[in-house]
Symmetry: C2
Subunit: 491 residues, 2 copies
């Protein structure tokens, strides 16, 4: 029992501790340091404390700083990035200054855009150049949008010619293209050598590039002939030639293809890496699954944020002004659509003055249309993103969605109509309610299909903006239908 | 030029064609077949056509069917799944019947839940048992929730004892636990053997399990001692012992851990596979990055759907009734909150009757609160999911969000207040508008932080339901604040 406990303890010690624990430790160390530093500062200001007191305190500070630095040195770059993101701005800078300069580059890579930008602001040109120079060309390209031009120029000058070319190439792609996910660490072998030779060649490496699950077989002109998975290399006869055991690559990616399509291929075929070729079938690099995983996560993130009208991922501890800038445009657009809806109501002010119950009931009609329309749009946007729905399906879908709306309208319209009848003791008002809710739901169904379909046809991303548009339609439409019907039938 | 074109064509032919092209081909073949079959059917019905005509037509049909079957046989299981999802129900069943029975299992695995359920419904017990028997234990566990009990019982009986245990284990985990992502295809080696021996052992496999990037080093009791990455195996001296070159695993997962935490580790450390151990540090299986990629994608999917109130992923071609069932509960909840807001307005009917402009302006006040509150919630839910925000930050965040709201209130409230003043030539009405918008924005800020924080403290997922709650608060609150202020200050 005791022996087992010991084994478990020692086993646990060789795995890195969980990142949450590390965060708690770092936060505690920071607070301890700053408390002491605060004391020292206070004492120095009051000038009452003797020289000695200050000295002792700053010794403690230095020890704590060393402990914190030690802690950070032992952590993976991604974990330090995680901790930096979870700290409020002043503590974040405090930790950032304690991180070893040669790790700055890899840590910056792991940070979210907002936090990365705030740390880059705190660094001078020399520090940034030094940080960038520790990175591969494809990694520098990832940081490039956040770096000042002079830093980029310096880094560019310091690179060897081939990496300069790679950097130029990598920087020429949009974030949503395969080229932006690509790295240049592909290991290439020739088809006519034996596996024995390949193995000897590989042994010259200290380590293979991360995520190397296959080697790429190319001819003299770097044309991709096939792939040699490491497991195949291992289980095959060492005297066999590469050519005789290599496989056809399951996919070849092109630099200008959409990254989302590449992600789809990785998901479907369970890939770890895939070759990227140019239009002449020459190997230019590879994409690895870690980049794809980041891409899929970030894309979902961006969509969720866009849905709520946040232009970009926001540092939760961002300044009030930064938050305002990130959010104002969405609020402005919504305010315009709300104003239009308000004017629709304005047209019927005479009716409302005569029957004030209309004012209380109209938000219900508008609301259910917005909710139902958003359901339809969400479903279609998802299906379209997976390529399962195209403009050709519009008619089938409109018919189906309108039937669902009719059902919803009769049921929920019926319920609310009954409630309105009982509340206001007015049968005709209840009937208008049923009719208006059903009609607004039908409008929501039609527009819920047509809006994303139209955006698809125009080649735009239906995930962005569809929700604002449907709400605008169902609000103004709902008010118009309900107040219009009431004016016609009740007054 | 010509030579190059040939090379390119031949190069293209050894990669599988793009799945979109395959879908188009299949769809065309189906339509051709059904057209012909329809003709045959018609001819048979009219009984005018001679025997010979029918014979010729059905020959054509048979040829087309064979062509389609051929096409399907050449496609990856995931591609067939993709095609099945993109086809309307009747064409989907037509294709499904043409797929080779022994591939049913792997294809079912790749399908979305909704489509999978519809195909399983079309199969009888024997077919399902046969399909399940082609799968590994962890894969059967994935299908299990959709399989009828009698099929599960039959499959269970047919499994060898150890796989039966694995199936029982795999089925005992919730979808969001590591145990549900785990497979049992880990390759184990002993620490005291040489790499040469390991290589010889591996050569006995025809192929290593997919996504094998490392072997697991275990002692006699199956306790995990370390990992041996394939690249290390390849680049190291074959005479070295496993022990001398093995590495500490970067993470060890536990079966009962949250799958989301495992996904975080894969992302942070760029893993391809990770060992899963029990509480005694014994190796029980592994998780691979393809499962993680699916998990991350599906989770984002589910969240996006939940946001719009779709209970689960919906087959776009689902029946009206299935769609209704998937969506009604969300609409019902929203209807209740809309009704409450309507009653708040009802309280102020007297005020509205006196100043009907209030009815037109009140949706603007409610709307901006809802939009702003949703921005706050979305930002916090994202940050909380990444572990960057905890309940401890609530106060800092409320202060910041309220400042952002104050800024928004003064600016947008100012704009709308001015518009209201000019429209209705009423300065006091304009001032009430500014005040009400600012107050509702402040309410939205406070609740936008408190709602997700409270859900976090209660251990619930703040992504689900937060949006409905904030809208309920800012609607009812917005109407109450605006109409209440107007009643106090204007009437």
């Amino acid at each position: 029992m005791n022996a087992e406990a010991t084994t478990r303890a020692s086993a646990a010690s060789d795995t890195p501790e969980r990142v949450q624990d590390a965060l708690a430790d770092v936060a505690a160390l920071i607070r301890k340091n700053r408390l002491v530093e605060g004391l020292v500062h206070e004492q120095a200001e009051h000038a009452e404390a003797g020289e000695r007191g200050v000295l002792v305190e700053s010794l403690v500070t230095r020890q704590n700083r060393a402990a914190l630095r030690n802690k950070l040195d032992g952590l993976h770059a991604a974990d330090i990035a995680y901790i930096l993101e979870a700290l409020p701005p002043d503590e974040r800078l405090y930790v950032w200054e304690l991180v070893k300069a040669e790790r700055d580059g890899e840590i910056l890579l792991e940070l979210s855009d907002a936090v990365r930008a705030s740390l880059i602001e705190s660094m001078d040109t020399d520090e940034l150049v030094a940080a960038a120079e520790t990175l591969e060309a494809d990694e520098i390209a990832e940081l490039a949008p956040d770096l000042p031009q002079e830093v980029l120029d310096d880094v560019f000058q310091s690179l060897p010619v081939d990496e300069r070319e790679q950097l130029r190439a990598a920087m020429s792609f949009d974030d949503d293209m395969v080229g932006a996910l690509m790295d240049f660490e592909d290991v290439q072998v020739r088809p006519d050598v034996t596996l024995e030779v390949v193995l000897r060649y590989l042994r010259r490496f200290d380590e293979l590039p991360s995520q190397t699950d296959q080697l790429f077989v190319v001819d003299r002109d770097e044309r991709l002939l096939g792939v040699l998975p490491l497991p195949t290399l291992i289980v095959s006869d060492p005297d066999a030639t590469v050519e005789s055991v290599m496989k056809a690559p399951r996919v070849k990616l092109l630099q200008h293809e959409k990254a989302a399509d590449a992600a789809g291929a990785f998901e479907r075929y369970d890939l770890v890496s895939a070759p990227v070729v140019d239009t002449n079938d020459r190997l230019v690099g590879r994409v690895t699954v870690d980049e794809i995983l980041d891409f899929v996560r970030e894309r979902a993130e961006t969509e969720a944020l866009a849905q709520a009208g946040l232009r970009e991922e926001e540092d939760v501890f961002a300044s009030v002004w930064a938050s305002f800038r990130n959010r104002w445009s969405w609020l402005a657009v919504n305010l315009v659509t709300a104003f239009v809806a308000s004017r629709v109501i304005g047209v019927f002010e005479g009716s409302i003055a005569k029957l004030v119950a209309l004012a209380a009931l109209m938000p219900i009609v508008a609301g259910i249309g917005g909710n139902s329309g958003n359901q339809t749009i969400t479903m279609i946007v998802r299906a379209a993103a997976l390529g399962q729905v195209t403009v050709a399906h519009a008619r089938t879908l409109i018919r189906k969605e309108m039937l669902v709306s009719l059902l919803n309208g009769l049921i929920w319209g019926g319920v609310m109509g009954l409630v309105a009848m009982l509340l206001y003791r007015d049968v005709k008002l209840g009937l208008v309610m049923i009719l208006a809710m059903t009609l607004n739901l039908l409008l929501a169904a039609m527009m819920g299909v047509l809006i994303p379909m139209t955006m698809l046809r125009l080649g735009r991303d239906p995930a962005v903006g569809s929700s604002v548009m449907i709400t605008a339609v169902t609000d103004s439409g709902g008010f118009f239908i309900f107040l219009g019907l009431a004016t016609l039938l009740l007054l």
